[in-house]
Homo-oligomer: 514 residues x 2
Amino acid sequence: MGKDKEKRQELIKNPKGTRDWSGEDVDLLEDILAQISRIFRRHAGKKLDTPVFEREEVLKGKYGEDSKLIYDLKDQGGELLSLRYDLTVPFARWLAMNANLKNYKRFAISKVYRRDQPAIAKGRMREFYQCDIDFAGASDPMMADSEIIAIIVEVFESLEWSGRYTIKLNDRRILDGLFEVCGVPEEKIRMISSAVDKLDKLPWEEVKREMVEMKGLDEAVADKIQTYVTRKGRKDLLEELQKDETLMSNAKANKGIGEMEILMEYLSAWGALDKVSFDLSLARGLDYYTGVIYEVVTEGSAPVIANGAEVAKETPKQGKREKKALDEDEDRSNDPSVGIGSVAAGGRYDNLVERFRPNADLPCVGVSFGVDRIFSITKARIAKGESFSYVSSNVPDVYVMAFGGGGFDGMAKQRIEITKRLLNAGLKVEFTYKKKPKPQVQFKNAETAGAPFAVILGEDEQARGEARVKEMGVPDGHPEKEGVLVKITDLATEVSKRVEMKKMVSKTGEMTAS
Amino acid sequence: MGKDKEKRQELIKNPKGTRDWSGEDVDLLEDILAQISRIFRRHAGKKLDTPVFEREEVLKGKYGEDSKLIYDLKDQGGELLSLRYDLTVPFARWLAMNANLKNYKRFAISKVYRRDQPAIAKGRMREFYQCDIDFAGASDPMMADSEIIAIIVEVFESLEWSGRYTIKLNDRRILDGLFEVCGVPEEKIRMISSAVDKLDKLPWEEVKREMVEMKGLDEAVADKIQTYVTRKGRKDLLEELQKDETLMSNAKANKGIGEMEILMEYLSAWGALDKVSFDLSLARGLDYYTGVIYEVVTEGSAPVIANGAEVAKETPKQGKREKKALDEDEDRSNDPSVGIGSVAAGGRYDNLVERFRPNADLPCVGVSFGVDRIFSITKARIAKGESFSYVSSNVPDVYVMAFGGGGFDGMAKQRIEITKRLLNAGLKVEFTYKKKPKPQVQFKNAETAGAPFAVILGEDEQARGEARVKEMGVPDGHPEKEGVLVKITDLATEVSKRVEMKKMVSKTGEMTAS
């Protein structure tokens, strides 16, 4: 039996690196997603919901060395399928299938899958949400790009993160140009670029050592790179670069810097310029970017806050299997599009759709919000006592009870009728599934459910067409301790009024307190 | 090149039996899901969102012969995983993991996966949505059950299907009892039950032939079964059965009929009794039901309406592979919990959680809504000219343009500033990503986007702090054909007012028309 039981215990867990979203967590996540998609909709975003799996060849060759993290389905006959790794490639596949579309503003909110070594504390999961908006189609320089950055600002402002985030901004063309100007050999540009990308986590000396010792870069070249990539600013940095004749004589850098100036003009029109930091150290991992790139960092987001996920613990046996199958680079980020510490990231990618349809000519620009991390940080702030206006409460409004003396039948039908009456008024209602429940059981259930009000039925009151409305938890001696008698025909209105009032008071209280 | 191109063409499709949800379809689906989850929340339902895959052993042995339809993931090291087949088993697994929960009202809206032969016209997909609410925990007879049925009624009423649906109702105990009374040998009860379940699609004579010729049932027994399973009604049928002494002397039937009486009492208190049909032919496929069962049928839902899904066509090669891997029973339903023709189904299952945690003692009752089918039927009604109050429009409210003569710079920054101003007022806004767009291009874009209003900027008006607001598509000769001049400081208020007004007029128009 002991062994049998143990075996059964092993069954009841969710897969490693995943979590069940429940209770207040899933409600908070929903509130965050609702805020974000409301903003997407305002910017004329249209929703796209693609299948969780794609034909294997759709994903193949799109993610570089991270392709080993793709989950494949077993070959059970029929198509060979893989779970989606992000939302961008399925969007590109869909655009390629719909050749009539010349432009499209699409958003998507879905889970994606990475067969990575999970690290919960760092927010690295095997199944996690992405929340993306991307604009496909022609745009004069930086017009669509600036609107994506304006959306980022609107999202974090609406999530009440004002003053707590920075949008790091750079351009692949500036970066490539300055590497050329500094004398980085062409074949080393991508690897030097990814070394530079680590400057948010490592000091310059370590990054330099990587360049020189591991990647064989000339030390003088590295020193020249330092003079650029340690600089950040806004229009000031732009003006400095524009005065740098060597840099401006490089065609790529010149183009990138020229468009960065346009972008800053537009960002100031969007009221978003003060939220960005033009940061020459920002490089971003993915290969497919062709222009502007950005990444949103926030205070306290690095190291990432543990999110209290309900995650299955690793058994020693599994651990061993995993380690054989995956490398153990604990520092690899879960999400190449959202580096550790960043809560949103994106950029312009003009050639991806052409991977699926030659000459598609559908340049794209977009952003992906790391909602699991946004959730974790918001949850931690709530735990510290902060409140957010968009977070809704999902407790029932009212609990329907019945009390009576000897011979009391429990009034089950009457409780149902009253429940229905209150539901019809839009209230959230519960009652106890006992035919003859004791008063204390009903009170306990109402408390557990968190209902602020009770409607109490009694046979005598019912006969007079009345019921009692009582606020839960009012102290002894309060004039309404026993509740107030209300006509059943007025019950829905009366309860709704009290529920509204209570919500208003608690909101005002919060506002006064904060 | 020809061959190369062909190969590339093959890449760009979604997996067989799946669809991309986009455009008006995904918006309608969202509106339907919002209506349903609003009702779930009112009944104190709490959301649960489990991973798309489960450890293989969690799903194993839960679906009888349909287990062959489960998608497995490839063994890439680590846990062996399978895609969820429904939302019920993951819920039971989660309940088993959370032993502190004595009761829980959970709802879930997610896609599920069946490696079945797709049949789009019948609504049989490999990836489709389920939308479930289930109450776990003790309930006196039929109290929780009646609330689930009340939820079904609320859902279809709120979806404006009034008068178009029937909830077929039966009880496993009544069915088992009547088979015993008719003399069906115990080992044949499940197979005779599934033959009876076909009475909604086949005439009695064919079902009888299946019982007698294929399943070896005595003909006299089959004839006795006929006297029961062809009967439907409400309290009238209940009273008939209560007078049937042979049936009432069977313990199971007696118990089931007694509780059916209680259920009807409660349904009448919920105002739901007139929506149900007590139907002795309803048997339902799944093994795990232990009490009341129900299924919602609707006019026109059989044969199921094609839903215009964007589904990849089968290539001959794939077809062959498939056919080797799957049997070809074209009549098998995609979803054992929602038979062809039904749009929701469920029942009581008291022992499932114990499969994961012995002595869990968490009886459950629930319902699953077939949202893909609800969507298809609603879409077909819209195509016929019906309208639904909960269906929202997602076109932009207003398109921001700029016109000018020679030397005109396109006013890109000003268009952005005005866009931002309108966005801040909660309006949905778009503009053209061209630095100097031609008027006709901007008008065409606004029309394509479906925006009812345009804001037109001009250099002279701008200098006076004014802009033009124009309703799109007003005929020549209309006094406001050229739009009206509005102060930029009043613009957001002015446009909001017109947008609201237009929405109200179009709503009233619809109401008058219908």
